[in-house]
């Protein structure tokens, strides 16, 4: 198929950017979305134009690198990552708009690449269980109820892509944050630090410039790992408990 692409081009963080139009030809529907962009880049390189920069690595939907706004939707029209989206979801002759994540806390680095280091800093503020190597007890000495362990696992599948933030009209990272609070909070090992964790992670979230949650639900709709909205209820509940306890 042949497509018209409208792509955000921006030289670097300091420069301002603009949308540019490109025609690509000979796209097969078995290609992934990123292979379609590879094809464009190969063609640009031949023509002497600088290829479009975009983040990607595993191309298996697990590393969380890829992050494109496609026709206004984070990761495009399917519930999956950009790298797992295939061209059979589009049709011949279509115009596709491709932009970077839009959120104040994720500044553009170049073209379609943004800076998501705020997520690392949120984890640094408490997204862990404090246990030094070598000091762990025998693994089966503390059983974890199966249903809680399953819930912990389900939300721990978050890949840190940031689609939830990009999709949220408030630019909130509550889904990402709630997923981590719930993952660690559901496990017995996560209890000792539970209150301090939520208090400091929320503070970091706000300091990074992410917005507040007003329960719109766009985040969970965009999430490629289908992290459910109830992690935000869990987040709020844990935060309430922590604040009451004086954290």
């Amino acid at each position: 198929m042949n497509l018209t692409l409208k792509i955000w081009r921006q030289k670097d963080a300091q420069s301002s950017g603009s949308m540019q139009s490109y025609a690509v030809e000979g796209i097969s529907e078995d290609m992934s979305f990123l292979e379609m962009l590879d094809t464009l880049n190969e063609q640009l390189n031949e023509r002497g134009e600088e290829p479009v920069a975009f983040d990607h690595d595993c191309r298996e939907g697990i590393c969380g690198s890829c992050d494109l706004m496609i026709n206004g939707q984070a990761h495009g029209p399917e519930v999956t990552t950009t790298c797992q989206l295939h061209m059979r979801s589009f049709s011949d002759g279509q115009t596709i708009t491709i932009e970077p994540w839009r959120a104040g806390a994720f500044p553009v680095v170049k073209d379609l690449i943004v800076d998501r280091s705020a997520f690392d800093r949120i984890i640094q503020s408490g997204g862990y269980i404090s246990v030094n190597t070598g000091s762990a007890p025998e693994a089966n000495s503390v059983p974890a109820p199966r249903d809680k362990a399953m819930r912990a696992f389900n939300v721990a599948t978050c890949i840190g892509c940031g689609a939830c933030v990009a999709a949220c009209p408030n630019g909130s990272a509550s889904l990402f944050l709630g997923a981590k609070i719930t993952h660690l909070g559901e496990l017995p090992q996560g209890q000792p630090e539970r209150m301090g964790r939520v208090a400091s992670m929320v503070a970091q979230h706000d300091a990074e410039g992410f917005g507040g949650c007003t329960n719109i639900g766009e985040c969970t709709a965009a999430c490629p790992k289908e992290i459910p909205l109830d992690v935000i209820s869990q987040l709020n509940k844990d935060l309430r408990d922590a604040l009451r306890a004086g954290y």
Binding site: K11, D12, S28, D30, M31, S32, L34, E35, D38, E42, N45, E50, P51, A53, D55, D57, C58, R59, E60, G61, I62, C63, G64, S65, T80, Q84, H86, V109, K110, I113, D115, R116, S117, D120, I123, Q124, G127, Y128, I129, V131, N132, T133, G134, A136, P137, A139, N140, P143, A144, P145, R146, A149, M150, F153, A156, T157, I159, G160, L187, Q189
Partner: protein, 675 residues
């Protein structure tokens, strides 16, 4: 299996190998003397690690923060080491090329991690895990290293659980595990199909905790491009800030490479797009030996190539072979038919036919090679790629009839979904198509028992080293090795080296530093100034085709010689006809790619030379000249029970081959048989 009573560690069970063939004559220079691991422990195998830990010197806690450690890589091996060394109080600098440490390719591991916990009381033990791993590696690994790996495996699970890794659990809330990759005990711990992700997030969080504590500084979107060697010791790295393009010098007392595997030398593999050999290849060019580079693991169950546009291959978990039946049409004419219209009697369930006792569950290398044989005979299915159809059926119709669609769905739903997303075909209705793909490399930088390369102060961990898997890696053992190295082995061995530190301060104006910086800068300028007509990617694809054709699942003397010539030509063209646009002082993905491809080309040549020299079939390395009458792999222990450690021979020079004999005291070598 030998009983533990045999584990004296004192009886030598095999003699030193004597190589008679010399296929690679003219391509290499033999080293005059045998290579000896000076750190190899002695004594009873079960006591070796304990003794070493006791003997290794300690570093006074007050001195630790004066010691700088550079760790390149934030996968399981690098992330776990950064966290642990940070906790110990050292000053750690951690590097990765992605935008966050959490995105290292360990994240993609699916199946699980082995540990000798014996929770199922099914007779597992440290010795049995050791035995399985050495045998699985086709007797081409060091027994002391593997024993240590098995020994620390149980601690890994304890550590991960304490960090909050949500492993699968049974109804009583205790840890579940399963059997994996053809072993007879149940020792694989898992978190659904995302074990690597969960383990990596555990290591990442532990590392971020140290970032907050100020012991670890993380440098993301940074690519290491050179090692700095001062007075024979590794003292730092040159890295490029991938956002600003700035070339940075980072100095330290010790450098650790945990930069993962180089499977992308084949262009198409299950590795991440950015996985590369640059970190280890640059170290190799600075003097570090590259060991067994030709040992590659080709995984049998991946989604086949669909066309020329393909950028990577996706693994489908090995567990599918438990219920799926593998077949191809008996007649070539049927290859283009709808598989559902091919009657039972016209199907060849070739694994069940050739290996009646293991059937579809034969080890990875065998399943892969037979799939290739079928396709080479012209009985492959799916689209034509080049001259052949490269695919075989993995059929669940019997399993669905036997267990019901719901039961199959419960077991494999996420894999079936993934398959459908990529291929557009519904595997509940049409048999899946699979084909082997490059997945893992057993080869890597040579290290001693302490995980130190032959360059003092340069340590290498995880997939980047060669140490534990011999010629073939068993399923669920790379995660085990990465975390064993990172959490337990390296922190205990590196301290013996650091006990002599802090080392004399190195000045940025030191000639060795200036030389490293200048060479990096010159290389970048060169890439940008060639001004040819081909993209780095197009060279990479071409290299991949050569490697896959001649250094893939089956290698022959003639093919390897041809490949070496072709790679040399490709290299010449690369350096004269490459086209890289953009600038050096900005984010430039084409420039990054060019550097990686340049190194892959050189590695590819060395892999072919190594494969040419090793005129035997072992593990993932199958030499056409060395097979039994019925086409099975034939090892030659008396000639090749050694590690081939290659020294860089200088630009345009020949690599030097150092041989380290593999001597077993706790396990006896046997030919594998799966018939």
């Amino acid at each position: 299996m030998a009983s533990t009573a045999d584990v004296s560690g004192l009886t030598v069970l095999n003699g030193p190998p004597e190589q008679r063939s010399d296929d690679a004559h003219g391509y290499y220079t033999p080293a005059p003397e045998k290579l000896v691991d000076a750190k190899a422990p002695t004594g009873l195998i079960k006591d070796r690690w304990t003794t070493r830990k006791m003997d290794n010197r300690l570093v006074n806690p007050a001195n630790r923060r004066k010691l700088d450690i550079i760790i390149v890589g934030t996968g399981l091996a690098g992330g776990a080491a950064a966290a642990t060394l940070g906790e110990a109080g050292y000053n750690v600098k951690s590097f990765c090329y992605q935008d966050s440490p959490r995105r290292a390719h360990s994240i993609a591991a699916q199946g699980g991690i082995n540990a000798a916990k014996n929770y199922k009381e099914d007779g597992d033990s440290t010795y049995r895990l050791f035995y399985d791993t050495v045998k699985g590696g086709d007797y081409r690994s060091r027994e002391s290293n593997v024993y240590r790996l098995a020994e620390v495996s149980a601690n890994i699970i304890d550590q991960c659980v304490a960090q909050g890794v949500p492993f699968a659990r049974d109804y009583g809330g205790l840890l579940d595990n399963r059997s994996f990759g053809g072993v007879q005990v149940s020792r694989t711990f898992y978190a659904r199909g995302q074990t690597g992700q969960q383990l990596l997030i555990g290591a990442y969080q532990a590392m971020e905790r140290q970032v907050a504590a100020g012991t670890v500084t993380q440098y993301t979107r940074h690519e290491m491009l050179e090692v700095i060697v001062v007075d024979g010791k590794a003292r730092g790295i040159i890295a490029r800030d991938l956002v600003t393009g700035e070339i940075e010098t980072h100095l330290a007392d010790v450098v650790v490479l945990a930069s993962g595997g180089y499977g992308n030398v084949f262009y198409l593999s299950t590795n991440a797009m950015g996985s590369n050999v640059t970190a280890t290849w640059r170290a190799h060019r600075k003097g570090a030996y590259m060991a067994n580079p030709c040992y590659t693991q080709i995984h049998p169950t991946c989604i086949p190539v669909s066309g020329d546009h393909q950028s990577k291959l996706t693994l489908m978990s090995e567990s599918l072979r438990n219920d799926g039946r593998i077949w191809v049409p008996k007649n070539k004419e049927d290859c283009t038919k709808d598989p559902r219209d091919i009657p039972e009697e016209d199907r060849d369930y070739y694994l069940e036919r050739i290996y009646p006792s293991f059937g579809n569950l034969v080890p990875r290398d065998i399943a892969s090679r037979q799939a290739k044989n079928m396709c080479d005979e012209g009985r492959g299915v799916g689209p034509m790629v080049g001259d052949f159809r490269r695919g075989v059926y993995l059929d669940f119709a019997d399993a669905i009839a036997r267990l019901g669609e719901d039961a199959v769905r419960e077991k494999y739903d996420n894999l079936f979904d993934m398959y459908e997303r990529i291929t557009g075909e519904n595997p509940y209705e049409v048999p899946m198509r699979i084909y082997p793909a490059v997945h893992y490399v057993m080869g890597g930088l040579w290290v001693d028992y302490d995980l130190q390369s032959n360059i003092p102060g340069l340590f290498v961990t995880g997939e980047a080293n060669f140490s534990d898997h011999g010629a073939n890696r068993l399923g669920a053992s790379a995660l085990m090795q990465g975390l064993a190295d990172g959490y337990f082995v390296l922190p205990n061995t590196i301290r013996d080296y650091l006990a002599d530190g802090p080392f004399e301060q190195v000045d940025e104006a030191h000639p060795a530093v200036v030389e490293a910086r200048t060479s990096v800068q010159e290389r970048i300028d060169k890439f940008l100034s060639i001004g040819g007509s081909r993209s780095a990617d197009s060279f990479h694809k071409e290299l991949g085709n050569i490697m896959w054709e001649y250094c893939g699942m089956e290698r022959s003397e003639e093919g390897l010689r041809k490949a070496i010539d072709m790679i040399r030509e490709l290299k010449a063209e690369f350096w004269s006809n490459l086209k890289v646009l953009g600038t050096a002082d900005s984010l430039n993905q084409s420039l990054e790619k060019a550097g990686r491809v340049a190194d892959f080309i050189e590695l590819g040549e060395l892999m072919c030379i190594d494969a040419l020299n090793r005129r035997e079939s072992c593990g993932g390395h199958f030499r056409a000249e060395s097979q039994t009458e019925d086409g099975e792999a034939l090892r030659h222990d008396e000639e090749f029970a050694y590690v081939a450690a290659w020294e860089f021979g200088g630009e345009g020079g020949q690599p030097v081959l150092h041989k380290e004999d593999l001597i077993y005291t706790a396990i006896e070598m046997k030919q594998r048989s799966y018939k």
